[in-house]
């Protein structure tokens, strides 16, 4: 027997076409495929950022000389700083921080100007609002950079000034450079999981499931058919993001296009395996939807998007190995910003292949087993 007989090919084609039509003709799933990805693109691209902007800094200037004035002016001139609040006393400093009028206060020591002029290490006191620890740390970083620049320029000879940070791959630490590639990971996960998980459950609810099972269609043919719409939607969304990231948000894509698409397909397959598993376990579309919710949120949380995987407790790090999002985040960031070559991608691609193979086999086994 030929590997693919015309009949088998006809069956496969029939179910793929049917699945695509069923997805595209249903207004609800059409919306699921198109609207949330676009919405997320703009929400995430514009609203979420770890940059801190428009913050107010208090200054308690006990020096008032050349160097300190220079520092205050530079601080005020920084595009990230909203307003400089001149503080008269430590008590006022305290009350401004408490009322969240300022996020940080800089106390300039009376010896500051003299130390700078003499080329001695000069020090500034920085008081941060610890309630907003994340933002405060970033602000501390900004203040440090500005203080460093004052020191550098005040002196003709180079001196020890602590560390100077240069960020590799994203020199300006532009947050969008990190957000947009991650979005491909996130939106891919949400749309592929939702569409896949709904498909079998929907047939079961409509009563067409049994009609499929009594037809000569093989289990793997049904599953392949079910995977066509999320795969095509995922590739479409991925392409839109790739273009919008470069054209609208100016994020450079440094890597190889063929590798981008190859890894995207592998990523989508692993997600569809998970989605199919949810789908075969759910009896109704509602259960499938809740199941997807149960899977999607932790997957994104564990991916390293919200916080580095290395910061998680060891058991969570182990768990995150089963999360396709975690591996793909490494791949997509690497492709966008670092032009990672295949050898460097492979350690992240391989787990995706394993996850996909395991979940898809489990789903097809369950699919058969649920016939009882």
């Amino acid at each position: 027997m030929a590997l693919v007989s015309p009949r088998a090919f006809g069956r496969l084609l029939a179910i793929i076409v049917k699945e695509l039509r069923a997805t595209l003709r249903d207004p609800r799933s059409r919306i699921t495929l198109i609207v949330p990805p676009i919405l997320q693109l703009f929400l995430f691209g514009m609203a979420t950022t770890l940059e801190v902007k428009h913050f107010n800094v208090g200054i308690l200037d006990n020096a008032g000389g050349k160097a300190s004035t220079e520092f205050v002016q530079r601080l005020a001139g920084s595009p990230n700083v909203g307003r400089i609040v001149r503080l008269a006393s430590p008590a006022q400093l305290r009350s401004e921080i408490e009322s969240e009028g300022i996020i940080a206060a800089v106390v300039i020591d009376p010896r500051f100007d003299r130390d700078v002029a003499a080329g001695r290490p000069a020090s500034l006191g920085v008081i941060l609002d610890g309630r907003r620890s994340n933002a405060a740390q970033i602000v501390a970083g900004y203040i440090g950079v500005i203080a460093g620049s004052v020191g550098l320029e005040a002196r003709s000879a180079p001196v020890m000034m602590g560390s100077v940070v240069r960020n590799a791959f994203n020199p300006n630490l532009d947050y969008v450079w990190f957000t947009l590639p991650s979005l491909i990971m996130m939106v891919g996960a949400v749309s592929a999981l939702t569409v896949t998980a709904q498909s079998v459950a929907r047939e079961r609810e409509l009563g067409t499931y049994e009609q499929l099972l009594v037809s000569p269609l093989r289990t793997h043919e049904i599953l392949i058919g079910k995977m066509a719409p999320p795969l095509i939607a995922g590739l479409f969304n991925g392409t839109v993001y790739l273009l919008v990231a470069q054209i609208v948000f100016g994020v450079p894509f440094a890597g190889s296009l063929p590798l981008f698409y190859l890894t995207l397909v592998i990523y989508l397959l692993s997600l569809m395996g998970v989605g199919m598993l949810v789908s075969t376990l759910a009896a109704t579309q509602q259960q499938a939807f809740l199941g997807v919710f149960l899977v999607t949120v932790p997957s994104v949380m564990l991916s390293g998007y919200a916080g580095p995987v290395d910061n998680m407790p060891p058991w969570l790090q182990t768990l995150s190995l089963a999360d396709p999002c975690r591996h793909y985040l490494v791949i997509v960031d690497g492709l966008f910003l670092k032009a990672m070559p295949w050898e460097a991608l492979w350690p992240s691609v391989m787990p995706l292949i394993i996850i996909g193979a395991v979940t898809l086999s489990a789903a097809s086994w369950l699919f058969r087993a649920r016939k009882e």
Binding site: P6, G10, A14, V17, E210, V214, P216, K371, E372
Partner: protein, 578 residues
């Protein structure tokens, strides 16, 4: 004359602008102290009308009155039982009653006495702590009724209370509601079962949103009085004879009734002469009592042709060489629950075999095992000569399956549905195109090709479902309640196709609890409490029931009830002995 409990005058309701009206100038009177039947096939507008009367839908035009006020005003005096009973499945029987009592504002002091009375009335006292979801269909329905009666209503609206319920429970329900009517309550009972119409004092017959007939049911049957005859002892098979007789212009309707045929002659036709029928020398005609259904068909004034264009081109199924469907001691257990036990049956090529039984009795389980949807716990079987064990896709390619409620892809057009099923059944290229074109021709689907299957009129949905099921000309057909809820003409058309296919050697297995459908079967297995309690031709089962009960000429439903009661008695006897 007392004021009616409810009435509607020329009520029109459309669900979408420009759509065909769900109700088209419908008028109805629900008199007090009697049961008014709201009768019609699925999609006729029954539920819409009931919801209008209950004040849940506002009509577009027309006047509605319930208990002398606008609908919804006297809500505390109206009992409403929606389809699917409106029960909370996770709450127990008693909790459901309690909830409805609170919702309907029954004074707490009256709770205990009312529940006691209702549970006695419905015989649910033994099950008062069981969750409603775990009750059988018949019991759910009784509980639904009890909830509607928690405050004694003056108007009772029942939306298809008997759908999907076995005849035994159906009879109990009728006698319960009959008792209420004695107390002066006005009851509106909607149903798609035409035999129930005859039990109502007055009937409103709806079809496609229009009232076809309104008045006492005898007035409708009077339309065909003297024109209904029964043909017995004719030569040849009843299916071939039926299709021949339907070709005559003086016969407007004919149906199979066991080994007899029921004929309805045209209005002005001269009396039929048995010798002119070409039905053999022994054929004899006798007058038969007209049924409500005969009157309905007469009003519809459409005639099903009785011949099947589908069968004419259908591949002749192989005869001989053993049964087409075979089950040997099939048993299915789910945990410690036995859904089907020791089921043995054979269906020959060219035979229609019916599985009849109450809901939950095991007929669906048996059906699913035979078409490969369930793997039996023990026992064996074969379809089209291939055993279950080796079955798989090759065996599935030899069977056609038509699920209850036409499970097609509603968001796909008719053409796309056909294309999918052609591909799924391995038809490729020119053959797929030719076969689809042929089916479109046979079922007259041309003008609906670009239309979404979900929005087709019921009759066309059914045609499309059959077209998809026979796409690959299978020698074995599985039909799951294929014609419940469709109008009698659509049902006749459907069965004339099936009859035609059977004449070409196709074997048909059908599940039903619809008595009219049972009449089309050559043999019936009655499934009850997971077992087959009787097998035989419809006439044999009727004869058996006649012997058991002493009734002359029992209906199929009488036979069904009698056989189940006999099985219950036998069970009790063995239980006592044990």
């Amino acid at each position: 004359m007392t004021a009616p409990a409810a009435q509607a005058r020329s009520v029109t309701k459309r669900f979408a602008r420009g759509a065909a009206p769900a109700l088209d100038a419908v008028s109805l009177i629900v008199a007090t102290g009697q049961i008014t039947g709201l009768v019609g096939p699925d999609g006729a507008g029954k539920t819409t009308l009931i919801r209008v009367l209950a004040g849940l839908l506002r009509p577009e035009s027309g006047e509605v009155e319930a208990l002398g006020a606008a609908p919804g005003v006297r809500a505390e005096d109206v009992g409403y039982m929606p389809q699917r009973f409106g029960l909370y499945e996770d709450l127990s029987v008693l909790q459901n009653l309690n909830l409805y009592a609170e919702l309907r504002g029954l004074p707490p002091a009256e709770h205990a006495a009312t529940f006691e009375r209702l549970m006695h009335f419905t015989d649910l006292k033994r099950f008062q702590n069981r969750p409603a979801g775990k009750l059988s269909g018949g019991m759910k329905q009784k509980l639904g009724l009890a909830c509607a009666l928690v405050r004694t209503p003056r108007l009772l609206l029942l939306d298809e209370p008997s759908v999907g319920v076995d005849p035994v429970s159906r009879r109990e329900l009728w006698s319960m509601v009959g008792a209420l009517v004695g107390e002066g309550i006005g009851v509106l009972w909607s149903t798609a079962y035409l035999d129930e119409a005859e039990r109502c004092a007055s009937v409103c017959l709806l079809n496609e949103g229009k009232v076809l007939f309104s008045g006492p049911p005898v007035d409708l049957t009077a339309r065909v009085a003297g024109r209904v005859q029964r043909l017995d002892d004719f030569d040849g098979g009843s299916r071939a004879r039926l299709s021949e007789l339907l070709a005559r212009p003086d016969i407007t309707d004919a149906t199979i009734h066991g080994r007899s045929l029921i004929l309805v002659t045209a209005r002005d036709a001269p009396p039929l002469d048995p010798t002119s029928l070409g039905a053999g020398p022994r054929a004899r005609l006798s007058p038969a009592a007209p049924r409500f259904e005969d009157g309905f068909v007469d009003i519809l004034d459409r005639k099903s042709s009785g011949t099947s264009a589908l069968a004419a081109t259908y591949a002749e199924a192989p005869r001989g060489g053993g049964p087409a469907i075979e089950a040997k001691a099939l048993t299915k257990r789910f945990g410690d629950f036995t859904a089907a036990e020791d089921i043995t049956l054979n269906v020959a090529p060219g035979e229609i075999f019916g599985l009849l039984g109450p809901n939950g009795a095991g007929k669906s389980t048996t059906f699913k095992m035979l078409c490969g949807l369930l793997t039996p716990t023990s026992g064996s079987g074969a379809v089209a000569g291939r055993g279950f064990a080796e079955a798989g896709p090759a065996a599935r390619a030899r069977l056609g399956y038509m699920a209850q409620k036409f499970s097609l892809y509603g968001d796909l057009s008719v053409a796309q549905n056909l294309a999918f099923f052609a591909g799924a059944y391995g038809l490729v290229g020119a053959r797929a195109r030719d076969r689809s074109r042929e089916l479109v021709e046979i079922f007259d689907l041309h003008r609906y090709l670009p239309v979404n299957a979900g929005t087709l009129p019921l009759g066309y949905k059914q045609r499309l479902a059959l077209a998809c099921a026979v796409m690959h000309e299978p020698p074995v057909l599985f039909l799951d309640e294929p014609t419940s809820g469709v109008d009698p003409i659509i049902r006749r058309e459907f069965w004339s196709h099936i009859n035609g296919l059977v004449e070409r050697g196709v074997a048909v297995l059908v599940t039903t609890h619809f008595m009219e459908e049972a009449e089309y079967c050559d043999r019936i297995a009655l499934v009850y409490r997971a077992r087959v309690i009787a097998t035989g031709a419809p006439d044999e089962l009727r004869a058996q029931a006649a012997r058991n009960t002493g009734r002359t000429d029992p209906t199929m439903e009488d036979a069904f009830v009698a056989l189940i009661e006999a099985a219950d008695r036998a069970r009790e006897a063995t239980d006592l002995a044990a």
